[in-house]
């Protein structure tokens, strides 16, 4: 965020006084903890809040009295807030913050679960974890596409379009050929097609990258919607009945309690996504390609001086991003649903948020995507136990969190220095 042309207001002034960022966050956390301990504690009932280690109410469970749990976890959040307020070493900041936030969430859950209608005072953890990952999946792919693009200095607002085009072409060609692999290939190419347009217009024609990204999203919505109505709606049998990847259970890993049944007994795209996070992380920070990508994204002139082909690196990364996002789109149509108009429905923009929230870092993006996926899954769960919290407000959470992050309240986020700036050799 600090790369704007307005340095003195873009870079938040470094505060030397007592109220450092860490203390402010601590104070906020302290307030949240108090809110949790007092309000959630008061609202929670004496019912046992059960967190079952399975898909339903059966089986082993972690149990805690609702009121006690809400107050206890609230106190944990208060303690973490107080620690930050008192001042902790810098490297302890994030862990303490995480403990505090988890405490707050658990306190909230104790209240919600204990206050649920009789017979529903349980939260099936396996189900929740699986749902979180499934909902986070398009975000993971999308955010990785963003990482690939933006680390090389091309702003990718077209994630939505890439996901959508991937989902569409995966469904279309998967149906026509009857093969999941053809579908997957087509999805990757579909995403790469939008990427190609992005690359050509951003790199070759120097069009503002945010502008072209937004326009490409609309183009993707239009083209896929048009072809959907013309082809898929008239003959769904032929054009919109793509085969789906069958479930694939990973030996050994599937037997891990809770995580095994939640993650390692099914969705192939989940394995691919998690693997890609690892690969891209290592690639970006441990290989020659990664070094070049980052140097092009931070200081293209210096990279050029050292003989790196700036434009070539950018073209390649943007296209790769399209492939990744295209596969992410296929995770809808080749695993879960048949194609519908505008089926990505804003997930591309949450992926963008995850990218920013995760500070342009693959692992950070994964964590952010999981957090957003959890918020999403929680909204579904709370709806199912007829909670008093409107699901819309939970749905806002990712967006509000991103605003707070960008505004510097949850730590400064900084984009690659040359992100969005076209490079003209000369």
């Amino acid at each position: 965020m600090s790369t704007m042309a307005v340095p003195d207001i873009a870079v938040a002034p470094v505060r030397k006084g007592f109220w450092t960022r860490s203390r402010k966050v601590g104070l906020t956390l302290l307030g949240l903890g108090l809110l949790a301990a007092v309000l959630f504690g008061a609202l929670a009932t004496e019912q046992e809040a059960r967190f079952t280690l399975s898909d339903d109410a059966a089986g082993a469970a972690l149990e805690i009295n609702g009121t006690i749990g809400a107050i206890l976890f609230g106190i944990i959040a208060i303690a973490a807030g107080a620690a930050l307020l008192a001042g902790v070493p810098k490297r302890w900041f994030l862990p303490v913050l995480a403990v505090g936030l988890v405490g707050f969430v658990l306190s909230f859950l104790c209240w919600q679960v204990s206050a649920a209608p009789a017979g529903q005072n349980f939260m099936p953890l396996v189900n929740i974890i699986r749902g979180t990952f499934i909902l986070a999946l398009p975000l993971i792919f999308g955010a990785l596409a963003g990482v690939l693009c933006e680390r090389s200095g091309v702003v990718n607002v077209a994630i939505e379009g890439q996901l959508l085009m991937g989902a569409f072409s995966g469904a279309l060609f998967g149906s026509i050929s009857g093969s999941v692999w053809v579908g997957l290939l087509a999805a990757a190419l579909g995403g790469a097609f939008i990427s190609l347009l992005l690359a050509v217009f951003a790199i070759r024609y120097l069009v503002d990258q945010v502008v072209i990204g937004i326009v490409l999203n609309l183009l993707a919505v239009g083209v896929t919607g048009f072809l959907y109505e013309r082809l898929m709606q008239t003959d769904a049998e032929k054009y919109n009945s793509a085969p789906r990847f069958s479930n694939w259970e990973i030996p050994l890993l599937r037997d891990i309690p809770v995580l095994g049944p939640a993650l390692f007994r099914g969705n192939i795209f989940l394995y691919v996504g998690l693997l890609l996070v690892l690969v891209i992380h290592i690639g970006l920070f441990r290989t020659r390609w990664g070094l070049r990508t980052r140097s092009v994204g931070e200081h293209p002139i210096a990279a050029d001086t050292l003989g790196v082909k700036v434009l070539r690196v950018r073209y390649r990364n943007v296209l790769l991003a399209g492939v990744v996002a295209g596969i992410g789109g296929a995770s809808y149509t080749l695993a879960l649903y048949s194609f519908t108009k505008n089926m990505i429905g804003g997930k591309g923009f949450i992926a963008l948020a995850a990218l920013i929230f995760g500070r342009w870092n693959p692992t950070g993006a994964l964590l952010a995507a999981l957090f957003f996926g959890f918020a999403d899954q929680l909204a579904t769960y709370l709806g199912a136990i007829s909670s008093s919290i409107p699901s819309q407000f939970l749905a806002m959470l990712p967006y509000l969190a991103t605003i707070l992050a960008v505004a510097g309240l949850v730590g400064r986020v900084r984009a690659p220095a040359a992100d969005g700036k076209p490079y003209i050799k000369g």
Partner: protein, 458 residues
């Protein structure tokens, strides 16, 4: 936008520029670009007759095939229409099958393609501008004069909100900010306008005024948030406005089903209807949908043009957009200007929102009441070259596409989505004039450089 001759100089922090430079940059660019908007009337700008100059006719021909604003816009339209035609053909299995034997009987393929495409585009035209059949019917006395004006009425109805959102985006662009949040600002505007429209018991006239202004206020609030975050914390307005769009949408879907807002006779997500006293009056009788919103839109265009080109604030705004550092050196408060820009952009988008619910498009809140006017506004602003009157024309074109698209869908069975494709394509081509220039082998332009680049990144 379009204030930097080359994208590289978009990082003005490296260039210690003076106020004069910034001002000249901003003004010079305006003039250059304005010259370009009227390339076909060189006569209207008489220049000193010191050098022998080519005849007017010669100039006209030269300019016609040069990469100036007008020609590029027109050719972008042509290109978009061609791509649209291709999409229509490849998505029609019956027509596509004639291509399998194109070598033996090419006439089949050509004829069927031509019929498909020409009918679709003819319906696009008839639905948006003029329908000869309705005109003939009026002469024969089989239908009323209103049927003749119906297409225009539809076009104006769809154009009105786009003028507001287009102006919103354009105004922010001129100040160096990219307001992707017109959608969210319009959403909050819709909410406030509708609430004022059915909750406040006010006399006619006053009620309408209050409802319209409530929409503006809603937009202003939603524009203020990214404005202050940008000015105080340096948070990028693109990210924040995108996020606020979704927050606004979720807020709308939550609000609709609350007691006192939801229509008591309905179980689905629809609010009570706006009182008739708060609805914008229709201009051409009850059968035609065109309403006073389009007049407000013209007024707003004039106001924004005045603000940008004649007022102190407009000068400051353009100076900040051209070079914030230089503007600050000259004593302009950049923070204040950023906040004001976003508030004004929000007001305009909010007015667009009022238009949607107080006009004839809808009279109650639904989850989709705002349609896509905020995102379309971005396209409109770019197509209008971020100039107020240009935005007005661009909004009219988009309104026409929308209105004609409706007829194309019901008469030719071509999905309305084609309109989205056409709109996006037009703007893509316009944003990359070098591409259009290369495709049509245009001469380099005499007057204008076309730049739709902020070139700033995050």
């Amino acid at each position: 936008m379009s204030n930097d001759p080359t994208p590289q100089s978009g990082s003005p922090d490296k260039e210690p520029a003076s106020e004069a430079q910034a001002a000249q940059n901003a003004l010079g660019n305006t003039e250059r670009a304005e010259l370009a908007t009227e390339p076909n009337t060189p006569a209207s700008k008489p220049e000193p007759q010191q050098e022998p100059r080519p005849s007017l006719g010669r100039l006209f021909i030269d300019n016609l095939w040069a990469a100036n604003t007008f020609t590029v816009t027109l050719l972008s339209l042509v290109l978009a229409i061609v791509v649209g035609a291709v999409l229509m053909i490849i998505s029609d299995p019956a027509v596509l099958s004639t291509y399998s034997y194109i070598t033996s009987r090419p006439s089949d393929a050509i004829n069927s393609s031509w019929t498909l495409v020409s009918e679709a585009y003819a319906n696009l035209f008839k639905g948006s501008i003029f329908d000869p059949e309705a005109f003939a019917g009026w002469l024969d006395g089989t239908n009323s004069w209103q049927a003749v004006l119906a297409p225009i009425s539809e076009t104006l109805t769809y154009a009105a909100p786009l003028v507001f959102t287009g102006l919103s985006v354009a105004l922010a662009f001129r100040g160096g900010l990219f307001n992707i949040g017109a959608q969210g600002q319009a959403t909050i505007g819709v909410i406030m306008a509708a609430l004022a429209g059915f909750l406040l018991p006010l006399p006619p006239g006053l009620h309408l005024l209050v409802a319209v202004l409530a929409g503006a206020l809603g937009g202003a609030i939603w524009g203020f948030i990214p404005g202050i975050l940008k000015a105080r914390a340096g948070a990028h307005e693109v990210i924040n406005t995108i996020m606020l769009n979704y927050v606004a949408t979720y807020f709308l879907t939550w609000l609709i089903v609350q007691n006192g807002v939801q229509d008591p006779n309905r179980t689905d997500a629809i609010s009570r209807a706006v009182d008739t006293s708060a609805q914008l009056p229709r201009l051409l009788g009850d059968n035609l949908r065109v309403h006073a919103g389009i007049l407000l839109a013209v007024l707003a265009t004039w106001a924004v043009a005045w603000l940008l080109n004649r007022s102190t604030l407009g000068f400051e705004l353009r100076a900040v957009g051209a070079n914030p550092d230089a503007a600050r050196t000259a004593g302009i408060s950049v923070t204040r200007t950023y906040i004001l820009i976003m508030v004004f952009a929000g007001i305009l988008a909010g007015l667009g929102g009022s238009n949607m619910v107080l006009g004839s498009t809808a009279s109650a809140l639904t989850p989709l009441v705002v349609a896509q006017i905020g995102f379309d506004g971005i396209l409109v602003a770019l197509l209008g070259r971020v100039k107020p009157w240009g935005v007005l024309l661009a909004a009219l074109l988009f309104g026409a596409l929308q209105a004609g698209g409706n007829r194309m869908q019901s008469y030719s069975g071509i999905s309305l989505e084609l309109v989205t494709v056409l709109q996006a394509l037009i703007v893509i081509f316009i944003a990359a004039p070098a591409l259009v220039k290369a495709i049509f082998q245009l001469r380099a332009a005499r007057a204008a450089r076309l730049q739709t680049s902020l070139a700033k990144g995050w």
